[in-house]
Subunit: 203 residues, 2 copies
């Protein structure tokens, strides 16, 4: 670049295209390798820029990760619709609402979060999302007998997390290639049982 | 140690107690932090020995991991009993056979394997265990309609893996503290449905 001399003062060099390219590559590498195994340098190389520029834009690797992962979704985009769904339809509605996110353009960010979680980082974040947000939103609606709602939701979470593991981490075939609607339809009665069925040891 | 001069030739220094102490600490650290985040040095420190001794006994970190993880179980200890169980009882028998292993003295080794898998190492090992061993052992017995057995087993695997995630990685409470028998009893009808029930899209 012949603009090197104009870099020093004022705005950082590069365009918003460059920022996006860095974020895209960061998401992809974090998802593939996890945070621990991804360096700023490898992201910079993949994006075709200098490491210093990545640091300049985003700070530390953790800050870059936050920037890359924060984006995907406003939790209310999921929680809002949930509130409208009758309790006896949650078993089929939940997987149809949640599983397609993993196949969407947000999938890599979710996968990155999951991998880093499994490496021991950020478990608290996921746990608090499940305990504080989902338990409050759904657990209170299936709290029959009283006190059982939290455990009911956790059984649902165990099945949904397991599907993600089998599809995106273990990549079991043909499971990983099944249409998400078939998965949702298959697990729906089981999730509904966890939410509103009679379960041993509750109540 | 005043025995330093006797170390050079002959048998490696230390007793089998030392080896066991290294393996115990290795298992604990691998389980807590995964392979990538655990150094030989940290294991040596935890075991109260020199890094060189760890290398001398076990070679590389990967070899140490193999030594620490290989031990836990002869797969036939699980597969043998499975063969005796009638198909219509597998839904309750499988979780009762598999989940208690995670609470046993072998739990840390399983957890270490899971963490490293999630970090991208060793997925092939687990996948091939699930596909080659479990699919053959159980999938062939629930292959109705023909060709469905493999997917049926993978739905079961998704639920069992999810339970492990919720209990040992996410540590959701009260889920993580429920008696393993209550978990097994709760998921049994759902697993049985995956194994022998009518599922959408199969056949």
């Amino acid at each position: 670049m012949s603009t090197a001399k104009r870099k020093r003062p004022g705005r950082p060099p590069g365009t918003s295209d460059t920022r996006d390219r860095i974020l895209d590559n960061a998401r992809e590498l974090f998802a593939r390798n996890g945070i621990g195994n991804t360096s700023i340098r490898s992201i910079a190389t993949a994006a075709g820029v200098d490491s210093a520029l990545v640091h300049h834009y985003f700070g530390t690797k953790e800050q870059l990760f936050a920037a890359a992962v924060h984006i995907p979704i406003d939790p209310m985009r999921v929680i809002g619709p949930m509130r409208e769904i009758p309790v006896d339809q949650l078993g089929s509605a939940l997987p149809l609402l949640l599983l397609p996110l993993w196949d969407s353009e947000m999938g890599p960010a979710f996968l990155a979060t999951l991998r880093s979680m499994l490496a021991g980082e950020g478990v608290g974040l996921i746990r608090s999302f499940l305990q504080d947000v989902i338990s409050v939103e759904i657990g209170t609606r299936v709290d029959e007998p009283p006190g059982s709602g939290r455990v009911r939701v956790q059984f649902v979470a165990s099945q949904l997390v397991g599907i993600v593991m089998a599809r995106y981490i273990l990549e079991l075939e043909p499971f990983a290639s099944l249409p998400v609607e078939q998965i949702a339809e298959t697990v729906a009665p089981n999730l509904q049982r966890y939410l509103t069925g009679e379960l041993p040891g509750l109540g």
